[in-house]
């Protein structure tokens, strides 16, 4: 049992518990907090796989940006509390049954697969060096991603304008 295996178990427990708590919490601001921990655990998984750039992007964009945006929106639109008990028992039971059956099918498929399963080795940054990420993001070769990069920047610009237009006071 190496240290990164223990780290994986800790991260898995954090992610599973906080995802469940996120959908079961009574108060919506608590649900946002649990979502924050689930997203940080995901960043930890990316670091563990060796994708350090992806982990930092996850921490910066999701944990730093999206969750803060959600908390602001929750505080701005503070209405009645979101109650799970407003649903009928049948609806909660049906939803839980559907989710558990789906989870069972997916877990069965995962355990029966024959992928090239490799052991989870110690995290190192040589899996995908930052230099390679930067060059392939701005190159037009076969492995280049310049077109989606520019498309995403145009999309973000359009999104800023649209968010201002939708949420402005009139």
């Amino acid at each position: 049992m190496d240290s990164h295996n223990i780290m994986f178990i800790i991260l898995a427990v954090i992610i599973a518990c906080s995802s469940l708590a996120c959908v079961l919490a009574k108060s919506i601001i608590r649900a946002a907090t649990y979502l924050f921990f689930a997203l940080l655990g995901t960043a930890g998984l990316y670091f563990l796989m060796g994708y350090t750039f992806l982990g930092s992007v996850q921490v910066m964009v999701y944990a730093g940006g999206v969750v803060v945006l959600y908390v602001f929106a929750i505080l701005l639109t503070r209405g009645k509390k979101d109650r799970l008990s407003e649903n009928t028992k049948t609806k909660i039971f049906t939803s839980a049954l559907l989710s558990l059956v789906g989870l069972g099918i997916v877990l069965f498929a995962i355990f029966k697969q024959e992928f090239l399963a490799s052991a989870l080795d110690a995290p190192n940054e040589n899996v995908l060096p930052i230099k390679e990420v930067g060059t392939s993001m701005l190159s037009t070769d076969v492995n280049g991603y310049l077109l989606p990069f520019e498309a995403v920047s145009v999309l973000l610009l359009a999104c800023i304008v649209a968010a201002l237009l939708i949420a402005r006071k009139r």
């Binding site: 996120c22 959908v23 919506i28 929750i74 989710s99 989870l103």
Partner: protein, 104 residues
Amino acid sequence: MIELNYILIVSAIMMFAGIFGFLTRRSTLAILLSIELMLNSADINFAVFNRMLYGQSGNTEGFFFTLFSIAITAAESAIAIAIMVNIYRLIKDTSVDKLTKMKW
């Protein structure tokens, strides 16, 4: 010994927790939180499959798919929250039961 594809189990749990929340929540913001969970588990899957199938061989399609997917998620949640704030200004409630009129 932990294998790389055990991460898929974690992401499956996250995905179905999100689906359960999507089906049971009443408030639109809580539904959006569940959608974030589902999107995030899909992102984990892209990264894990890229790591599992290509490793250090230099093929980075899953990695970049995750990267652009995170950027698109940020845009999506910004627009969705703008719509929520607007709805709250109009009818003072963001529960799905009250959102029956989709007009100005």
